[in-house]
Symmetry: C2
């Protein structure tokens, strides 16, 4: 059983792209051709058809997809069925699936979430995002599930929203450093037990691309963690902010974009061909923007190699 | 449209019980008679049958139920269908439903979670538990949904697990007070816009019953919030710890027990009648233990009325 981080790094090296496409089903924003046809077509079928096309369009350009559970849950049971279908469709194409659920709880409840997403019996995705507020012990069942099943977690560390500073940035009396650095310390400890042959661990971190200075600091604090960079193509995130999350080896980060890839196709009367083309071009543009900045950063940090 | 807090207070006054029964489906722990009968009986039917019996047994003794989403998600789509069925069964009996999902995210994703649980189109429960780490703005969509639909939130404030101190108790340089008091301040602000005629707001707080001193402090900081007390009957929580979360009027808190009510029935070969009786007695005992301590606390805080 190969662990999550090694599987992800292998896929990153194969595709040469750090892009992750976020799958946030919003039926009201989907092209008209997806929704028309059968009058009886329900939410499940609409969402699945949309995601099949997105997966076709990004073929070879991404290593992973990040379905956002909130947007599936928004459609009740039909949405959860669509989530299961979407996970299967992505896996069949060889893509890794990172379920963005920001789950957590204490004790046996955390074990239930870990079993639901990282175990083999229910949703069986490759990785799950997890929130840290409940403390170190609340995350241990997820770490255990990663070890048992070759899965990964991304702990929410520093988010991209304006209010992310309200609690995350508060300096602690005990350390004189912001709260999120305490969380980073815990992620680093978890990572020691989940280290892959690639040198990267399966205990990753979610970091918003809107705060490059903090991203650089977190990159240094977590040299072996894979950072899931969020907020790209929205919320003011830039290629510079994303590039700050990479290691000099050009690895160590994956960058998610959701609406910037899947809902930037112009009019809802777009044709199928034009939709596929727009999704592919959005992904290519994002990949090239980021990799250009990552290369520049790597050169800047190794001036002798110029 | 009556707001959540008023509906809950009215129900508390009618039943005279602050007990909330936690619905944590764990098929492996359910009585044998629930699981036998039809060979084709799937997870959905087993969970629903179990919850119907629990709801029958606690009739008149609780105002609300707290289904824990983790344990439903553990069974995949079948579990989510069972969640929808359970919500309907509880509503038909006039019980309020607090979905324990500890959800949160930023921006339009938080809006999607709020729509999923507090809107009318998907799960349509009465209240949802929400985590605070992402900051004040991440919780605003939930507050807006409470206002629009007469619903409630319980923000996770201070949990009952040993590691709850790792981040929640950290003293901040800016205030000299623990992080959870900053979160309490935000809950208080949200409550001002969600105040009911009862004097209680629909912005509540989740507080573990294991830390009576902190509970008293939070009770004072949040005089108008309804506290959802967790960890009762497990994790070392006591009637004293729960009683510390009440106001002198005997209101202001509801106390959840899950396994202490639903899975404390002795052998798995229990009969249906003995199961119903055990669940009802567990609930009665819990109600009486807590109300005795609440009365003692009220007398202690108003010695002149002795």
């Amino acid at each position: 059983m190969r662990i999550f981080s090694d599987r992800l790094v292998e896929s990153l090296q194969k595709t040469g792209s750090p892009c992750v496409v976020g799958l946030d089903p919003r039926i009201d924003r989907m092209p008209a051709f997806i929704k028309s046809g059968r009058a009886e077509k329900g939410a499940r079928a609409i969402i699945c058809d949309f995601h099949e096309l997105v997966l076709d369009a990004v073929d070879g350009l991404v290593s992973a997809v990040k379905p956002q559970l909130a947007f599936f849950e928004r459609y009740g049971t039909a949405g959860i069925q669509a989530f299961e279908d979407t996970v299967q469709a992505a896996k069949q194409r060889g893509l890794l699936v990172i379920a963005d659920g920001k789950r957590n709880d204490v004790d046996s409840t955390a074990e239930a979430y870990a079993a639901a997403y990282l175990g083999k019996e229910a949703f069986d995705v490759d990785a799950l995002t997890v929130t840290p507020y409940l403390g170190r012990d609340s995350m241990v069942p997820f770490v255990d599930a990663c070890r048992d099943h070759g899965k990964g977690i991304f702990v929410v560390l520093k988010t991209s929203n304006p209010g992310s500073g309200d609690y995350q940035d508060q300096k602690l009396e005990s350390t004189g450093r912001p709260l999120y650095e305490n969380v980073a310390h815990t992620i680093r400890q978890f990572g020691e037990g989940l280290m892959g042959e690639s040198g990267y661990s399966s205990a990753g971190a979610v970091v918003g691309a809107t705060f490059p200075e903090q991203a650089r600091r977190l990159r240094a604090l977590l040299p072996n963690a894979i950072i899931l960079v969020t907020g790209y193509g929205a919320q003011g995130a830039t290629p510079e902010g994303a590039a700050a999350c990479f290691n000099p080896d050009g690895l160590g980060a994956i960058v998610n974009s959701s609406r910037g890839i899947t809902y930037s196709f112009g009019s809802e009367d777009v044709t199928k061909a034009a939709f596929l083309s727009a999704v592919r071009e959005n992904t290519l543009r994002m990949r090239d923007e980021i990799m250009r900045k990552v290369s520049q950063s790597a050169l800047a940090s190794h001036p002798a190699s110029r």
